[in-house]
Symmetry: D4
């Protein structure tokens, strides 16, 4: 079984690469998908459609362009991994988790122990909670084993 | 048209009461629904099912009990209002917004200008962004007018 | 059987009133729903959320507020009547028809013979094409008869 | 990620070719789908099933044959681009947009500034509004980038 | 539990009345729905929209008007009873059964032993096969008992 | 909020009555639904449709008649309580739980500690696991509180 | 675009072969699917599961085995062609049409003029009515043209 | 037609191998999917995420990890075979059957005559009941024949 995995959330650490490389090292039959993770490029996704004076509308346009990509990927994926780092609001990650939950799409959360309480609702709908990318690799390896 | 409105998010200010009273003052045909907003009671929702030593599992059990209520209400409501205060992570509010988005359920966000950038993905799927409860009342009043 | 009927489209003639009064005169068990049909009020639906310099964003905000009402009504209705007058673009009416079609919601078009060719795709998914409000009343009367 | 893009609307200018060639020039992994864009051929799609004296029924038969193609393509596509030119009614384009909206299928509108007000409801559900085919190419390029 | 029951099929015998009266005699909390069962009236359902020379289009228009009623009722009902008499093609009854099957809506068939073989696919998706209206009453009585 | 609760599973103890009476004692706004819990009556549900020599077909007919009731109730309910006693196979209870899970319908399991391991997949999709009817009453009371 | 076409109905004439060969002669990118069309083999589909004395149960078992194939194919196809010959009841063909209609799956009917009236409800939901296999080939050729 | 078959249930006999080998011997175009059938490995599926003192939570974590695999496979498969052996509770098999039923996914049960009565509800929604793997092979061979 080929598995499609969507990687959602934090963009300031290399957790995506760790998971992808860990799965490749195990030769797993998995395809990975992500939002555009270059922060500046992502914030500017809608700029080509015309400049905006208000930051709200610039953000609005870029977010909607980004959503074409992310919503499509989430709907096509089999499993999502949703990462919450220790900084920033990361409401988009929680939003993606809620989106997955409503679609009945399984997801794994990836966050430290410190975030247990504020993420309790997000974890309650998750299929698993991991604290390291290596654990996620182990879970994915298990899921696609023959 | 009777409208069912779900009020999601921040529990530390009286925004819910302001919206409900504002709608009642206008004699609008609207029913309001919310999660249990008593923080301690909500955290203890699963305690009756047995004590847990690990905080993760206590949170897990309570969140799942709370979700029986919140998921049911969200699926029954016509519109949601999702409030983000200036403090706390409030990932459950972003989760609810994502859940609404995936269901095609319209929602209105309620937050200050400071939160525009971190909430851009959540706002991008919203039908409206308000900064005060009074604006939400005005929008609801418009929606249910004859 | 109580029938919920959504009246979509043209706002410059009294076709809505003719249908509603015709049904009332026949004492039919039908509830009618419509978008806000006061043009100025509808265009200003989002103004309470803050002024916009660009007409695009003013329209955007108002349309999204109006959509809370119209999408909710369309999803709750049993049948829609979609009216195209001889003037104006009326793309929102065609949009509503497409929305109904995708939901499998039956709709009746109401337009003159002159519009047959440009409306052929919209009529192709309709359950009936009427040229007068009186015909719509007759069809509705038939549908809810005992 | 291979992207399936449906191109809906105006058939009198070469906007489709501009988008397709622009994407090919960038070597993007995108497949394009369209209704039959030869106007006469499209109007005659149902003629093989027998002649009709009334134009309504000729249009009806052809539209229903065309819909086998267009509904199938819309349901299979990931994104639609909906083009409104400055002439003609183009209700089928607005119909397609409504159809996409109800399915939760993202779409991009392509039209000039003059059409902002009459297209406000259609734009309100769109993920982006472009004024040139080149902008659409840029957006698609962004969406499928690695 | 109030049960909504749709009665589909044969219109030349009084099986509907037998079921309705049998349920009333037992004071069951059931509402019954049917297509318009007056044959001439049903065939003429679309005539108000204009005369047609070809019988195909007259039938087409009337069938589509009737479908507004029947599709709505089938989608609202909890259970359908689909009756096949010993005469006529009754393809609309089989069509309704297929429609119910695809929606996951339970239905009971009502027909004589002679029709077992030609109705085998229709019976295979049914929840029950009855040969008399009295049996249907007994089944409905059982279903709604406290 | 009025809550519809479906009570599934074991029929040899009075757990249903305990839950219903506990909720009534608390004056909770809850309606309860159940399969026919009279074992003999349930096994004979299809007998009215004709005798069967093979036990398989007798069971088949009765189960399909019962399913009209149970599937309808499960689809209408907001929450299910699925009870596993210490005896018998009770595959129908596990079947109902799987049915709820696929529909995204929340359910609470009710069983003793001894059954944790064999019920692990069923509990994994549940919103809560209770060991006594009184706990279920407490959870329901919490869910419907104002 | 590759098109999946399901061929439903009459098994006593060579209409399937005519359509398949006509499409092959035009080198169309179409895959065809059908129920098992060997009448005896189809009636015996369930015999391997054990003999039945009653014809009802033999038919029941075979029909349910056949439905595994036909339901799967209908749900995977893009378009169905539903053929009604001049003999036999062919309720399974009407059942398939209703199934397609409820799924929003487009279908083309294929029958002679004599059957217009009894098939009016089935035709009313069809995208096209053809009287010869050659017409169906023409329609399919049009649908998949570039 | 390539068929995807999910094999659910009993893990203590070689029924899966018998079916797979029987299909391979017939050169059938079928892919098979299963949960991880190594009992110890399956029970330990969640151990990598951290040890648990309570057996309930160990089971809970492992079951949820396993469900990522099994739910994904069930939703992708065309048909399921659900096996009940003569020992053990096998509630997960009944759960899978209920899950399939709610999704409208066809399934075949595989069990001995002794289990007819306790499995009556599970069999009632099945497309076929087989007593030997060889019968399942025969049914699958029939379903995918040309």
């Amino acid at each position: 079984m080929e598995l499609k995995v969507y990687l959602s959330g934090e963009i300031h650490t290399d957790w995506r690469e760790q998971i992808i490389q860990g799965c490749q090292a195990n030769d797993l039959n998995i395809s990975f998908y992500s939002a555009v993770t270059d922060h500046d490029k992502s914030d500017a996704a809608g700029d080509v459609l015309g400049a905006e004076e208000k930051s709200y509308w610039r953000d609005h346009k870029s977010s909607k362009v980004n959503a074409i990509r992310t919503r499509t990927m989430i709907e096509k994926c089999d499993v999502a991994v949703v990462r919450f780092g220790d900084k920033y609001k990361q409401w988009n990650a929680a939003f993606d988790a809620g989106y997955c939950a409503a679609l009945g799409k399984p997801y794994i959360t990836l966050h430290s122990e410190e975030l247990i309480h504020p993420l309790k609702e997000v974890d309650a709908e998750a299929q698993a909670w991991a604290t390291t990318p290596a654990q996620v690799v182990d879970i994915l390896k298990y899921i696609v084993c023959k």
